[in-house]
């Protein structure tokens, strides 16, 4: 009791829910339901004084209480415990009551269930009995119906068979009817349906008969189809239908391919022949006659509108009647389009169609494809050869756009073939043709440029020749034509720069127009312009190198040839032309070449994949040509004057000449010519630098110089005692003067050119004088002549000392070669010279 009381005391100190759980747990314990909880409780329960623990020892607890607590506390403890015991009792009573109620209701439920199950069992028994009855009924019904069903099935089978048979028996008639109505497709499909059956039962005579009939009809049909196939007139659609049917009729595909292609070939060939016929008519004599006859007629019937004959003659393709665009157009429209049609229908028939059907198994697509390729290649090759022939006839360079458009169309149309026939080499070959045509065209342009250049040179030549003639004519005609002659005479020199500028302008224009024409090949809207060839090689190698650079090289080359070919004969090229060309080449070197090349590069966006000729080397070439031409000009002009001087010295008897009264006419001529050369050169070349001299003093300087020196010389030379002195004097002089190169290179200016010419002339004079022997008056004449030359020539040269020196040498040499050297008084010489 104490123990229980203690426990209740402890419980009462707890809160309510925990107390209830504890109670619950103890109940569980009691029923042995909670084994897990033990361990937890063992911790608490080790204490024997724990009133709630399992090891509670009431004796120990009581002793402990008695020992530790006072009386009051014990009293309190006792009341507390009593209270707890009381509450525990009530709790237990409540629990027992509750559980009892539940048990009672559970027992009621179980009893009720027992009753229900019994009822259900009865119902189930009833059901199974019903089911057995139903099964029995059903079996009996089906047993009765079975016979009728078998009959019906049999009857329907017979019915279908009969219908098939009917179809078979009607087949020949039906086929015939189809044949009559030309409903070939229906006939073929009918026959296809019957074919197997007939084949299977062919051992039966009746079926055999039908089969034979059908065969006969189908043969006839096939025949008819073939006939139709063979007929040229049928349209492509019809044709493809035919082929389709024939294929279904088990005609060998290969044969059909061949037939189809050969049929197509004949049609395409007629196209090709049409094209060929357009090339064929070469301009035979009769055609020309016709044309001329027509022209005659047209002139007779004045104003009749047959102006197209001159137009066509200006058109640069006289070889054929139609122009190339028309030709290509026709080729495209007729040949290429029908070729495309053939390809499509062929592919439709033999390749695409066959791939779906049972034919695919027989490798027919491959076979057909192969055949098609061969066919297309073959025909295309012929077409290409025709086109190429036609293009080759396109020699003229009048209108490039026509050719480009033609080529474009040609190329464009071939793309269709490329699309239809992916693996074909045709488009590539077409591109090759275009490339060839383009390169050919570039070549033609080059030669056209070259001939244009040569023609313009001829024009220049003529222009140079005519005014000179008129001058001569005027001088011959005398006073009457004087005004006109003078005018034309003045025209001749002034026209030189104009000629140059017009020449270079026309060449430049021509180059530009050629570039523009060639540029059409790379225009954006042209299909082949985006081919790598036209983007790269055509621009750099084709246009830049083989057109522009070649032309410039040609210009230089031809200029050089002028120097070489004319070298020996001297006079074949007019010197003015040499001068003009030299200036032209020099202009090319300074500006034109780089301008042209820049223009080309810009227009064609040249990307230099391969090495190209640099501007500098071209410029160097042009400069070299210019130099050569100018040197040659100097040489030729020097030679002309030399020739005059030489003849004048060689043909005269200098020993027995009379006392000089005049300057010899030839010297005046020399001065005149030199002056005109000076004017001529001055028109094209700058003045150049000369050593400073005053024009006033120059004449005087010479007279003093020459007189003093020459006097000294003559004095020495005709003083018998000292023959050495002369040589000494001149040798000393030579020691201090520079060596003169006579035929040396000149600079690109007037003074240098004139110096060169005068040097050559005077040196010739000197050498000729040395070969002659002079009398007294011979020497004096030379003195006069030289003085005259000095008066006029100094102004042309860069260094007047040069003229001094050479003339001095001439006079000195002639003094040496003089039998009786008595020089003329300087004053007399001057008087004679001034008198002219």
């Amino acid at each position: 009791m104490d123990g229980e009381a203690d426990g209740t005391v402890a419980v009462s100190e707890d809160c309510d829910p925990s107390r209830r759980r504890r109670v619950h747990g103890m109940l569980k314990l009691y029923y042995g339901m909670n084994k897990e909880g033990k361990a937890a409780e063992e911790m608490e329960s080790l204490d024997p004084c724990d009133i709630n623990g399992p090891h509670f020892d009431p004796e120990l607890y009581l002793n402990k209480l008695r020992r530790e607590c006072s009386l009051t506390e014990l009293m309190d403890q006792e009341t507390c415990m009593v209270k707890q015991i009381r509450s525990l009792d009530s709790d237990m009573q409540t629990l027992v009551y509750e559980n009892y109620n539940k048990f009672i209701s559970a027992t009621d439920t179980i009893r009720k269930m027992k009753n229900d199950f019994k009822k259900m069992e009865d119902e189930m028994d009833c059901l199974s009995a019903n089911m057995a009855a139903i099964t029995e009924f059903s079996a009996s019904i089906s047993g009765t119906l079975q016979d009728q069903h078998a009959q019906i099935t049999k009857l329907s089978g017979v019915h279908t068979l009969l219908r098939k048979l009917q179809f078979l028996f009607e087949l020949p008639a039906r086929l015939n009817k189809c044949l009559e109505l030309q409903a070939y497709a229906q006939a073929v499909s009918s026959h296809r349906r019957a074919r197997c059956v007939l084949q299977q039962y062919s051992h039966l005579p009746s079926f055999k008969g039908i089969q034979d009939d059908c065969h006969a009809i189908m043969d006839e049909l096939a025949q008819e189809l073939r006939q139709k196939f063979r007929d040229g007139g049928s349209s492509a659609k019809d044709l493809s239908e035919c082929v389709e049917l024939l294929l279904q009729l088990d005609e060998p595909a290969e044969e059909l391919c061949d037939k189809f292609l050969s049929h197509a070939r004949s049609r395409l060939e007629s196209d090709l022949q049409g094209l060929e016929a357009e090339i064929r008519p070469y301009p035979s004599a009769s055609a020309v006659k016709d044309a001329s006859a027509r022209r005659l007629l047209s002139t007779a019937g004045a104003g009749s509108p047959t102006d197209n004959s001159p137009k066509t003659s200006t058109l640069p393709s006289p070889t054929s009647n139609t122009d190339i665009l028309e030709f290509i157009d026709r080729g495209c429209n007729e040949f290429v389009s029908s070729l495309c049609l053939v390809i499509t229908s062929y592919q439709e028939l033999f390749i695409n169609h066959a791939q779906t059907g049972e034919l695919a198994t027989k490798n027919i697509p491959q076979m057909a494809n192969g055949k098609l390729h061969v066919f297309v290649d073959d025909l295309a090759a012929r077409y290409f050869s025709l086109v190429e022939r036609r293009i080759q006839e396109e020699k003229g360079v009048g209108d490039n756009s026509l050719l480009v458009r033609a080529l474009d169309r040609f190329h464009r149309r071939l793309q269709a073939v490329a699309k239809l026939l992916p693996g074909s080499a045709v488009p590539n070959k077409g591109t090759e043709i275009v490339v060839r045509a383009a390169t050919e065209r570039v070549k033609q342009y080059l030669s056209a440029l070259q001939s244009f250049y040569m023609d313009s040179l001829t024009d220049v030549r003529q222009a140079l020749a005519t005014p000179r003639l008129s001058v001569a004519g005027a001088s011959v005609a005398g006073g009457g034509a004087h005004l006109g002659g003078a005018a034309s005479g003045r025209d001749a020199p002034t026209s030189l720069p104009e000629l140059l500028s017009s020449l270079s302008a026309s060449i430049l224009n021509q180059i530009k127009s050629v570039l523009a024409s060639v540029h059409l090949f790379t225009a954006k809207d042209i299909t082949f312009s985006n081919k790598p060839y036209f983007k790269g090689e055509f621009c750099s190698q084709g246009v830049r190198e083989s057109l522009v650079v070649s032309f410039i090289k040609f210009v230089c080359q031809s200029s050089r040839q002028f120097c070489e070919s004319a070298g020996d004969k001297g006079g074949s090229t007019p010197p003015a032309l040499l001068l003009l060309l030299s200036r032209l080449c020099l202009d090319y070197e300074t500006s034109t070449i780089s301008y042209i090349l820049t223009l080309t590069d810009e227009q064609f966006l040249v990307q230099h994949h391969s090495p190209v000729t640099p501007v500098t080397s071209l410029c160097a070439e042009a400069r070299e040509a210019a130099q050569k031409l100018l040197n040659h000009y100097v040489k030729v002009q020097g030679l002309i004057i030399s020739q005059m001087l030489r003849k004048s010295v060689e043909t005269r008897d200098w020993v027995n000449t009379i006392e000089p009264r005049n300057v010899r006419a030839v010297m005046k001529r020399v001065v005149e010519d030199t002056t005109s050369i000076d004017v001529q050169v001055g028109l094209l070349y700058e003045e150049g630098v000369r050593k400073a001299h005053s024009s006033d003093s120059s004449k005087r300087t010479f007279s003093v110089y020459s007189s003093s020196r020459q006097q000294a010389r003559y004095a020495a030379s005709y003083t018998p005692s000292a023959p050495m002195d002369t040589n000494l004097l001149s040798n000393i002089h030579k020691l201090f003067s520079e060596r003169i190169d006579i035929f040396s290179s000149v600079e690109f200016n007037k003074v240098s050119v004139m110096t060169g010419i005068i040097k050559i002339s005077l040196k010739t004079f000197l050498e000729c004088v040395r070969l002659r022997t002079f009398g007294r008056y011979g020497l004096q004449q030379i003195q006069v002549d030289c003085h005259y030359l000095q008066m006029y020539l100094w102004r042309f040269v860069s260094d007047e000392n040069l003229v001094h020196f050479l003339l001095d040498e001439i006079v000195g040499s002639s003094a040496h070669r003089c039998l009786d050297p008595a020089p003329m008084e300087q004053s007399v010489i001057e008087v004679i010279c001034e008198r002219g």
Binding site: G567, D568, K569, G570, L639, V655, N656, Y718, P720, P723, M724, N727, S730, N731, K734, L735, R739, D741, I742, F743, S744, K763, E767, R770, T773, G775, H816, R817, C818, L819
Partner: protein, 387 residues
Amino acid sequence: MEDDAPVIYGLEFQARALTAQTAETDAIRFLVGTQSLKFDNQIHIIDFDDENNIINKNVLLHQAGEIWHIGASPADKAVLTTCYNKTSDSRVVSCAAVWRMPSDWETGSHESPDDTAHNPQTLELLCHLDDSVHGNAACVLWEPMGDGKRVISLADNHALLWDLQESSTQAVVSSTATLEGKGQLKFTSGKWSPHHNCSQLATANDTAIRGWDLRTMSQIYCIENAHGQLVRDLDFNPNRQYYLASCGDDCKVKFWDVRNVQEPVKTLEEHSHWVWSVRYNHSHDQLVLTASSDSRLILSNMVSISSEPFGHLVDDEELSEGEDNHQDDKSKEPLKDSVVSTYEEHEDSVYAAEWSSADPWLFASLSYDGRLVINRVPRALKYRILL
């Protein structure tokens, strides 16, 4: 080294005529003829002492007139021909004559070398090659390698073949050839071919070169327009019978194969004025000497058209081991036609140049101011040709 330097000799007079003493094969000796209208003309005998590099001169008087051309007999050292101008009655006539040097010219000069100017000996006239009918003589040509009995003189448009008889004291025209055509044709120069048994002659007139057969005295070939202007001189290749060199007023030197006269085999354009003289070296025909009025003398090495286009052919057996290196050097260098050297010692026009007859590596050139220059082929080239 030192002896490669040119040796210069000055004459007092102007001069155009130069020849080697052809018959002399030991001493290096040149003959120069002067041109003076006022004084007695002279023939200078120039002896060159190769070892000491000294020139010895002897002067002989040629009183007949100024000398335009001189030729030495190939057989007799003492015999020579000149073409000279004679003025009489204010007329100038060109004549040709055969002369003999006085036999003691050499001894006389050695005794008193300084006095030669005062007391020169005179040439002894053997005979005149005059034929006034035929006009003015331009040059006289000795039969090459002949016995000194035959000469050809070119006078205006005639070529006269003379036989010298009675030890050259009498000259008889044996045959003549005449150049016919429009205008006044005049031979300017000529050369007797050493080939074909000395039966051919080449002449130049104006721009044309003509070949003549001396047996028939008829023209065998003609190179029209051989030069753009006057042809000044000719020379035969001594080793290749059909090869001919010419030069002229177009500043060019051209080499011809007379079998094909359409185009020159080769053209040189090195001079800047008229070329007056062209000479093949007598033994090494790749060496060609040209003289020009641009005061220059040019020695060219024309290997490609020489008789030794591949250099001197050395037999392998002859090659000692030491020479192998040399052979290698030579094969490395390609043989090219080239200008060997340009000689600028002259101040005036050079009208004549000649190879020495004694020393094949030595040549003389003469300019109008009377300067004679003796030069040698550069040593390096000499060894390259020889080895």
